[in-house]
């Protein structure tokens, strides 16, 4: 039995004149993501993408990949058969046999894209339904609130009987809304923030600050692993690893302790913006959540955000830690995030950090630092690692 994937596009059907651009973007992404698995023929019609495996290209693995592609609201496997009622009924009975054993109520929904097909949609539904009832006498038909809706589609060349419908990743195709730079630490929050904004159609770059020998190679490997997991959703993802040790030592030597973290965060934002502009990104993304730590109070966010001109997206700003953890588990980054390696934010942590800093005081702290020189030095030492 030949199987295909049917991917239901979400929001992009609403986008009027941009629709063609979004659709071709989605197909382009799907082609790139499926290419390592084998050869697939892709086509799109009526906001459904048809993925047809060629040769021995696997269906199951392709389904798993497509579940992580933004812009798809739901997806299912479907059996392909000739446009002939006997064949359609046989295919439905065989294809759904195991699944219907554990189902109590169902209904059949038929659609006829090819209006030359001799039966009407309700007639097709009734015939297929009757056949399935024959095979599984325990089943009951339920027009409202059926446990399982069996979809039959009659299209140009073939008929399709669909299997169980799974939720897709939702959102918009990666890159449909441009590029942005994610500040990626080793923690729980930043990968979630990156995932949320990528889901809104942003193509991501990531920047990570590395303070060897204060932080370890293991901590760096952990961030690379987080980026690898994230790239399962976003496609190719480049992490710019910024050497940060010298900046931290300068801050330690020339600023007062309660401002260490704030001045450090401001350097991070400056460097992230520098990298973002270099890579054509139009915004920054951080995992900040209001009030979570001293550097995430309104005053601190103002002090750190004021060094850059690009918009800063903070998708977690109104979320509780528990909500963020749920999302981290869903996208698969949680277990890696909680590995116990230090990140650069824990080097020289002040005992009593400023929580309500005045901007002019923060700026005063930076007077003795060669800000441009330090930023350029760090920028010149960046190492780039591409995942996915």
């Amino acid at each position: 039995m030949r199987e295909v994937l049917l991917l239901k596009c979400g929001e992009l059907v609403l986008k009027g004149l941009n629709r063609g651009r979004f659709e071709s973007r989605l197909l382009h992404i799907l082609r790139a993501r499926l290419a390592p698995l084998g050869d697939y023929r892709l086509s799109i019609s009526q906001s459904t993408v048809y993925v047809e495996p060629q040769g021995d290209a696997p269906v199951g693995e392709a389904l798993e990949v497509c579940r992580r592609v933004f812009g798809i609201v739901s997806l299912c496997c479907a059996a392909v058969c000739p446009k002939d009622m006997a064949a359609i009924c046989d295919t439905a009975a065989r294809y759904l046999n195991d699944e219907l054993e554990h189902t109590r109520t169902f209904k059949v929904e038929a659609r006829r894209a090819d209006k030359r097909f001799p039966l009407t949609s309700p007639q097709i539904g009734a015939e297929v339904g009757a056949r399935l009832l024959e095979e599984h006498p325990h089943l009951r038909v339920r027009m409202e609130g059926a446990e399982r809706i069996v979809k039959v589609e009659i299209r140009e060349q073939y008929a399709y009987v669909s299997g169980e419908r799974l939720p897709g990743a939702g959102g918009m195709p990666t890159g449909a809304n441009g590029r942005a730079m994610l500040l990626l630490s080793g923690g729980i929050d930043s990968p979630v923030a990156g995932h949320m904004m990528a889901r809104r159609g942003l193509e991501l770059g990531a920047v990570h600050f590395y303070s060897y020998p204060y932080t370890s190679e293991e901590a760096r490997d952990k961030v690379i692993e987080l980026a690898r997991i994230l790239s399962g959703w976003t496609g190719k993802l480049t992490v710019s690893v910024v050497p940060f040790t010298h900046i931290q030592q300068e801050i330690r030597d020339k600023c007062s302790e309660d401002y260490f973290t704030l001045v450090m965060r401001r350097f991070m934002m400056r460097l992230a913006e520098r990298v973002a502009r270099h890579q054509g990104c139009k915004a920054l993304i951080t995992g900040e959540s209001l009030g979570q730590v001293a550097s995430q109070t309104i005053e601190s966010l103002n002090a750190t955000g004021s060094v850059c001109r690009l918009p800063v997206f903070r998708p977690l700003i109104g979320m509780d830690k528990e909500e963020i953890v749920v999302r981290a588990r869903q996208i698969g980054t949680f277990e890696t995030s909680i590995l116990p390696y230090e990140d650069c934010c824990t080097v020289f942590t002040p005992r009593h950090p400023q929580t309500k800093p005045k901007l002019e005081n923060v700026e005063k702290q930076e007077e003795n630092l060669d800000i441009d020189g330090l930023v350029e030095e760090a920028f010149a030492g960046i190492e780039r690692i591409t995942l996915g």
Binding site: Y212, P213, Y214, S216, E217, Q249
Partner: protein
């Protein structure tokens, strides 16, 4: 690598040991239990190796069995002793500076109903014989003491405590963890019933150890099977490792006195140099010659280790097995937190040189500037 100074974690395999292992793998590769000529050759090699290790331990060859390492020897000894004496009492005495292999085996015995008393060290890391003897009770059935501490090099009064226990309760058993003492210190076995050793701390291979069992002491094995090693340790003998262990013991014993003097001189150079940099020495004065524990009093061990590593110097913070946790040994000594967090263990072998010590000291001075 300019200075490998983590010999208490493991050592390079000595050339003589590597040759012996290669021969056991490619020429004399029979199973010592086989009846044919290759089997007999392997049996002879096994007996020869047993003799070499026994001479280093200072016991008769038939009192020694080979195991997979220090951890297995310790588990076998402690579990067997507790089981053998459980009808006499439930009290076990040890120290809070033992290796995790001892502490965690005792912890599991504690869960089975034995009562464990751990004697704490003084601030300098030494454990007094009086404190150990004071912990002994009429119902004490087992005493387990390490000969040399793996983190500070402290030499523990195992012999005095063993004698005290035997005077009170002749049936009580004594186990000594001799892993860091083998080929470095004398280890009197007068009142000792069992002692554990490891091959890879003296130039042998990883995955091999030995257990001394006093003549006439019958013990229950951990593993059951073909009955090798007097039925105490079933499983085909790991001949390459065993042959290497024997060869390493023989090589080390030949030059033991000179090696100890050499390491002691290096240790003094190291301590003087470190003190000049402002370091605090966490090891006692009269410690074993090959281990020095020190702290700069600021920063974290793992940062020092990485900074030293960049300059080609390998040391550890505390025990290599602890991987970043605060050292239970230094905690037991009651050192200030800043000294514990920044602790470094420098451990020598006979091949260590003055250049290596100087290289370490220079790198330590540089690394201290990170904080």
């Amino acid at each position: 690598m300019r200075a490998y100074l983590d010999n208490a974690a493991t050592t390079a395999v000595l050339p003589q040991a590597a040759e012996a292992a290669l021969r056991a793998m490619t020429e004399c590769y029979g199973n010592p239990s086989s009846l044919h000529p290759l089997g007999r050759q392997a049996r002879e090699l096994l007996q020869q190796s047993r003799g070499q290790v026994a001479r280093a331990v200072g016991c008769a060859a038939e009192c020694l069995i080979f195991t997979s390492g220090g951890t297995e020897s310790i588990n076998t000894a402690l579990r067997a002793a507790a089981r053998k004496n459980r009808h006499l009492g439930r009290h076990i005495v040890s120290t809070s500076v033992e290796h995790d292999a001892v502490l965690n085996t005792l912890k599991s015995l504690g869960q089975e109903g034995f009562e464990i008393t751990l004697v704490a060290p003084g601030r300098d890391g030494s454990v007094s014989a009086e404190a150990l003897c004071a912990a002994l009770r009429p119902d004490t059935i087992l005493l387990s003491v390490m000969a040399v501490n793996n983190e500070t090099g402290a030499v523990l009064p195992a012999a005095q405590a063993a004698a005290a226990l035997k005077r009170r309760s002749p049936a009580a058993l004594v186990h000594v963890d001799g892993v860091q003492a083998l080929c470095k210190q004398d280890l009197p076995l007068d009142n000792v019933d069992m002692a554990s050793f490891s091959a890879h701390k003296i130039g042998g291979m990883k995955g091999c150890g030995a257990l001394y069992i006093r003549r006439g002491l019958a013990i229950t094995p951990l593993l059951f099977g073909g009955g090798q090693e007097n039925g105490v340790r079933s499983g085909t003998e790991g001949m390459p490792q065993i042959a290497a262990f024997g060869a390493a013991c023989e090589a080390r014993m030949k030059t033991r006195a000179a090696d100890a003097a050499h390491m002691r001189a290096l240790r003094e150079r190291l301590i003087a140099g470190a003190r000049a940099l402002g370091a605090h020495i966490n090891s006692p004065e009269n410690a074993a010659p090959h281990i020095v524990n020190l702290s700069m009093g600021r920063g974290r061990s793992e940062v020092y280790i990485r900074a030293l590593g960049e300059r080609g110097v390998c040391v550890s913070g505390g025990s290599a097995c602890a991987r970043g946790r605060a050292s239970h040994v230094l905690l037991a000594q009651g050192l200030p937190k800043s000294n514990i967090d920044a602790a470094l263990r420098v451990s020598l072998c006979p091949e260590s040189t003055e250049e290596m010590i100087d290289c370490f000291l220079e790198a330590l001075g540089q690394a201290a500037r990170l904080f």
